[in-house]
């Protein structure tokens, strides 16, 4: 009995430790600058990883910090490393109980928990990242990361000498597959001979495995790497072996000062600030937001000095075309991995097809586990 009690105590401590809540400090100066009548936005964030992951969660936290610059936003709260699934409802509910009126849940696995808590708290506005379910007080938001991925593919296609490019990928889900395809289309638009080799790690975050996966691609002759992972291990692998690398999530060039070419990056601050502003004005309405480079939610990090001027110019032209809407990476004709026509000429894949993508374009070497 004693042991059981001790174990239960430990469990309780563990869950308490996991949520690791940050107590916001009230800056007095900011509060006094407020007009008395204005509604204060008290925002709360649920993060799937630690802020120190130097990747996905870090990029969200940068967005949160940017949002706090607005005068009407009170110091916000974030809770790190919240496990996905039903358990997260308890944590989200905790934020509601503490008086937060705008809550961002920043990973796919919080979808059902977010809707569940939202249905019982109609006066609170929720924003869920990367999901497909919304409600009266739940909006969704995500970025068209495939746009900068396509641009980074152009650079990879121009920079490779072995015509072999490696892609360290986390899980075979549409978001990742879409990125691989867009990248490959970018590569093949300038270098039809190049192939993109894919290795699945089946983890978002395991620096050791990511490093090993990157090394395995270098071992088979890849001289440019890119990744869809949360740790910057792929960058270090490329740096150690004098290859080139294209990062992801944030501008993490310091991990590979010589190898780094560019990175498709998130700019969550733009959507967080916009949402806070809409809630403040009372103009917020539920929507399923999927923004691209035009809205500045996704970007391509500044290109390194290693990229020749002609390539820089080409990328800039293509970027302008994507922003203007005259270029869409997934416009036909597109062939699938087997060389069969997948998208006819003149057809552009709609958002539904993009969000459910489960096939590889021509030029990808790898399999999608079914």
């Amino acid at each position: 009995m004693k042991k059981l009690l001790a174990l239960l105590t430990m469990l309780a401590l563990f869950t308490a430790g996991c949520t690791n809540e940050q107590k916001p400090v009230e800056p007095a100066a900011k509060a006094t600058a407020q007009p008395a009548a204005a509604k204060q936005i008290k925002a709360g964030f649920i993060y799937v990883g630690p802020v120190g992951d130097a990747g996905w969660t870090w990029s969200h936290d940068q967005g949160r910090i940017e949002m706090e610059k607005a005068a009407y936003v009170a110091p916000s709260t974030y809770i790190e490393s919240v496990p996905e699934g039903a358990e997260s409802a308890r944590v989200i509910n905790g934020l509601v109980q503490k008086g937060h009126n705008l809550i961002f849940t920043t990973s796919f696995g919080y979808m059902d928990a977010t809707l569940d808590v939202a249905s019982k708290n109609k006066d609170v506005i929720f924003m869920h990242c990367s999901g497909y379910k919304s409600a009266e007080n739940v909006g969704t938001y995500f970025g068209r990361m495939y746009e900068p991925r396509y641009l980074s593919g152009i650079i990879a296609g121009k920079m490779t000498k072995t015509n072999s490019i490696g892609y360290v990928a986390a899980f075979p889900i549409p978001e990742v597959i879409r990125g691989i395809n867009a990248f490959t289309l970018g590569v093949r638009s300038v270098n039809p001979q190049a192939v993109v080799k894919v290795v699945w790690t089946q983890t978002w975050f395991d620096p050791g495995v990511e490093r090993d996966a990157a090394d395995s691609l270098l071992d088979v002759g890849a001289d440019v790497l890119t990744m869809h992972q949360d740790a910057p291990a792929t960058l270090q692998a490329a740096e150690a072996r004098n290859a080139y690398v294209i990062g992801y999530n944030s501008d993490n060039r310091k991990f590979a000062p010589n190898a780094f070419l560019t990175a498709p990056i998130w700019n969550w601050g733009s959507i967080y600030t916009k949402t806070a502003e809409e809630v403040q004005n009372g103009t917020w309405k539920t929507a399923q937001i999927w923004s691209g480079m035009k809205e500045d939610l996704v970007q391509l990090a500044p290109l390194s000095e290693k990229v020749p001027a002609a390539v820089k110019q080409l990328v800039e032209e293509k970027r302008k075309a994507i922003v203007a809407g005259s270029l869409h990476p997934f416009s036909g004709p597109l062939k699938d991995q087997t060389g069969k026509e997948a998208v006819a000429a003149g057809v552009t894949l709609d958002d539904g097809a993009l969000l459910g993508m489960n096939w590889f374009v021509e030029g990808v070497q790898g399999t999608i586990p079914q």
Partner: protein, 306 residues
């Protein structure tokens, strides 16, 4: 190809090897330590922070050992001196490790250092197949070879090793022989924990020279399982760690080479392997052929005569 695979195997297996060796020393003294994951993190952070501020890799390894030694001493204090529950104390140590490294690691997230590099051993590194994998590696890997041999020698060819094994089997008998049971146990737990810390430092100084929260990603738990697979032997721990590292390395390389085998099948391999190992160890346990220390997990109290 085989050469590359072996090389990757050694590199992936080494952090688990250090952790398993540390855990074996704990358990040989009769103390279960489930704090391995936390100790690895403590070692990874202190090793990285020390190297980052001093520029010395050696200092990094030493601080990883010292920090994990100190953290392990907490476990030793609770389980040996105070005779507390070893399972609970170990789990608490893991949680403590995760939390404390997250807190103190903030300052060095995103910092970079020059990590361990390969140094070829003359002549030996020219050997076919095994040369590159075993003799063109970094200093920490060479150290792990020496450690495996040293621990084997210590357990079976020194009086202290014999005493330590006796304590794990029957502390009352050891006590009757005049062996300082608690002192041995305390030191075994603390030194074993220190080695676990070096396993963590391998990740932050050699494998991926950086600090990220939770960068061990569960390797500590693999080490806990490998202790049983290795049946408390340092030599078998080497094989276990390499087997585990090798399977991971292999499935990644099969994918990179573009095999048509489903990635799911390849990724299942480490887990299939774990289950097979558990089945084999359990059968051996039932046959009485297990090497498990008789008094593993039980606190010793001189007053409490059976």
């Amino acid at each position: 190809m085989l050469e590359i695979l072996l090389d990757a195997t050694v590199r992936a297996g080494t952090p688990i090897l250090f952790a398993t060796l540390g855990a074996i020393i704990n358990e040989r003294a009769g103390i279960i330590n489930l704090g391995i994951e936390g100790l690895m993190l403590i070692g990874a952070l202190s090793g990285f922070a020390a190297t980052f501020s001093s520029g010395s890799l050696l200092l990094g390894v030493v601080s990883a050992f010292v920090a994990a030694f100190i953290a392990g001493s907490i476990h030793a204090l609770i389980t040996v001196q105070l005779r507390g529950n070893q399972i609970v104390s170990g789990l608490a140590l893991t949680m403590f490790g995760i939390g404390v490294t997250a807190l103190f690691g903030r300052g060095v997230v995103g910092q970079t250092i020059d990590g361990f590099e390969r140094h070829a051993v003359p002549l030996l590194s020219q050997l076919p197949v095994v040369g590159k994998a075993f003799f063109n590696q970094n200093g920490l890997i060479y150290f792990s070879f020496l450690l495996v041999a040293f621990i084997w020698f210590f357990f079976y060819h020194t009086r202290w090793g014999l005493n330590l094994r006796t304590i794990g089997e029957n502390p009352a008998a050891a006590d009757a022989c005049g062996i300082a049971v608690n002192r041995y146990r305390f030191l075994a737990v603390a030194c074993g924990s220190g080695l676990v810390g070096i396993g963590g430092a391998y990740l932050s100084l050699a494998s991926t020279p950086m600090w990220i929260e939770n960068m061990t990603a569960g390797r500590g738990w693999i080490a806990v399982a490998l202790v049983i697979f290795a049946s408390w032997s340092s030599v078998r721990a080497l094989f276990g760690a390499y087997l585990f590292g090798g399977i991971t390395a292999m499935q990644l390389r099969f994918q990179a080479m573009g095999t048509t085998v489903s990635a799911h099948v390849l990724q299942m391999l480490p887990y299939v392997f774990t289950i097979v190992v558990l089945v084999i160890s359990t059968i051996r346990l039932q046959k009485g052929a297990s090497q498990q220390p008789e008094n593993l997990g039980l606190p010793y109290d001189r007053e409490d005569r059976k």
